[in-house]
């Protein structure tokens, strides 16, 4: 656990914010897909920390989180000026494994999923493709950063305000055709239904090695409380067990995702 002084905290657009913490100790250890568990200063009536994916880290010790204001905690966070010190735990959770030199990374992301996979794109030895979906244009974040990182960015919105009109997973079949000569390595991050759909496609299509970041409401962030569980395939009567996304995840291999239920 470390303290992280807020270096900047600015609005990106429409409810999306970017906060930068000075936290060199965490930066040095962060791998793509990990998260930081933030005790939001001034949030005196709420006890729990808020987990956020680490979107980026740099050699100056700056840790970047991209967040959306969805409730009281993120609202208070959005009001914290530079200079405020928050308590941080991290980096926490199992990271993505980087693609091999001969693999083409395809990141399928929705919501803040692009924020959560940016460091993966940045560190990937091979520049690949980002398939990014959202409800509407306003929710498509970080596309320019992915482009700058050398990724080919393809968009889908449910209201058709930008890119393909429909679900982001609908961009996958044409991509597979287009890239048929490549060994594709899939990565997924976004809302649960999207990840279930993606995992199902990967399991059925035999795309081994795919990884998805599953998360759930968290408390402790270190595997102690069993709040954050999701169903993962298991060798037992039921065919599944509850795995802790904070510790056994958030990154799981897509093969292990239990796609029949919750």
């Amino acid at each position: 656990m470390t303290t992280g002084e807020i270096v900047s905290n600015t609005i990106l657009h429409d409810g999306y914010y970017k906060v930068e913490f000075f936290a060199p100790g965490i930066c040095a250890k962060t791998q793509p897909g990990q998260f930081v568990h933030v005790k939001i200063a001034n949030l005196r009536d709420r006890i729990l920390r808020r987990p956020f994916s680490i979107s980026d880290v740099n050699e100056n010790g700056i840790l970047t989180v991209i967040y959306k204001v969805v409730g009281e905690g993120t609202e208070v966070l959005a009001g914290l000026p530079a200079g405020t010190v928050c308590d941080l735990m991290g980096p926490l959770g199992k990271p993505f494994s980087l693609p091999g030199e001969n693999e083409l990374p395809v990141i399928v992301a929705g919501g803040y999923g692009s924020a959560a996979t940016y460091l993966l794109a940045k560190r990937s030895p091979v520049k690949g493709v980002l398939l990014l979906g959202a409800r509407s244009e306003a929710d498509l974040i970080l596309t320019d950063k992915f482009t700058a990182a050398g990724f080919d960015v393809r968009l889908a919105t449910q209201d058709g305000s930008q890119g393909h009109k429909g679900l982001v997973t609908e961009l996958i079949p044409p991509l597979l055709q287009e890239k048929s000569g490549h060994k594709i390595r899939f990565y997924g991050c976004g809302p649960m239904p999207m990840l279930i759909a993606l995992s199902k496609m990967l399991q059925q299509g035999g795309f081994g090695g795919g990884e998805v970041s599953l998360d759930h409401l968290m408390c402790c962030g270190v595997g102690a409380c069993f709040a954050c569980v999701v169903k993962i395939k298991a060798d037992n009567e039921d065919g599944w067990r509850y795995a802790r996304t904070c510790k056994e995840g958030p990154v799981f291999t897509a093969d292990d995702v239990y796609t029949d239920g919750e």
Partner: protein
């Protein structure tokens, strides 16, 4: 440094601060944060006979000054607990004082878990009986809200083990002192209180309960005044040493429980806010004692002054 050792009947601790069951996993999860030997005791998450999935999700919801949880029985079961790397073998090596919280869905299950732990009790300092679970044989009435059942389960566990026994009382009753008396009669060596208070929260946009299980247990600073009252009531009713908990966030809160009559305390929800909370509570108690010129923490137990 004041003398922080406390004496809970058969159990002597280097300091009065434990972790509350269910909030510190099996100790293993926090091993990189600090040396578990710094704690008075590590109380592990509830252990039953068999491994179990636990409840559906969502399992937690935050509330003003607290949280609701309905984790359910998720856990490895007693065999894996006794032999799995991340459980008892780790704890034995760690040198921590270990208290094992147990639960079951029938009196027999409680007894069986206790007997099984008793058979390999090396490294176990005490058992804590969580009587807040529903008795499936008796139509789901919680053991902890029925005087007769509470007595029976403790009496049966008492027969199954020679380990010091703590019984953890439910706050969801009219008169908690009656329960303290009943479990004392049944042979418990200590009581711990309070467990969580049953609550509920609804997401008004979806109109669905925020906890899949419908109700959950409320913990955190929101419940502290209720917990302090109950500790006081129990301290007036029985001589059994009390482990107080419910919303302890810092040393001052712990001191308040001890003044109300607790001989030791447990830190729960605060750990989610700050993994170092138990250590800070120890330091805070010591700072209070020094400020007040007390040589030993024992001086403040039950030390509230009524005019």
């Amino acid at each position: 440094m004041a003398d922080l050792t406390v004496d809970l009947g058969k159990l002597k601790l280097k300091n009065p601060v434990m972790t509350a069951s269910g909030t510190f996993g099996y100790g293993f999860e926090y091993k990189d944060y600090f040396d578990l030997r710094s704690l008075g005791a590590v109380v592990v998450k509830g252990i039953a006979m068999k491994p179990s999935h636990g409840n559906s999700t969502p399992r937690v919801a935050e509330t003003h000054g607290g949280m609701l949880n309905a984790i359910g029985l998720q856990g490895p079961g007693v065999e894996k607990f006794l032999h799995g790397d991340e459980y008892m073998p780790f704890l034995r090596k760690s040198g921590a004082v270990v208290i094992v919280n147990i639960w079951g869905k029938s009196i027999e299950e409680y007894r069986d878990v206790a007997a099984r732990l008793d058979a390999e009790k090396d490294g176990i300092a005490a058992l804590e009986i969580n009587i807040s679970c529903p008795n499936i044989k008796e139509g789901g009435v919680a053991f902890g809200t029925d005087l007769k059942l509470a007595h029976q389960v403790v009496a049966k566990v008492r027969q199954a083990t020679s380990l010091p026994l703590i019984t953890k009382l439910s706050p969801n009753v009219t008169k908690i002192a009656d329960f303290a008396r009943a479990v004392t009669d049944a042979g418990t060596d200590m009581v711990s209180l309070i467990n969580t208070i049953t609550g509920m929260a609804i997401n008004i946009n979806t109109r669905r309960p925020k906890i899949a299980n419908l109700t959950g247990g409320l913990s955190g600073p929101a419940i502290k005044p209720i917990a302090i009252r109950m500790v006081y009531e129990v301290s007036k009713a029985v001589k059994t040493p009390i482990i107080g908990m419910g919303g302890i966030m810092d040393g001052d809160d712990a001191v308040e429980f001890m003044l109300a009559g607790a001989s030791a305390v447990a830190v729960g929800t605060a750990i989610f806010a700050d993994p170092y909370a138990p250590l800070k509570v120890i330091d805070g108690i010591n700072a209070y004692l020094e400020r007040q010129g007390c040589k030993s923490v024992k001086e403040i137990i039950g030390g509230m002054i009524l005019k």
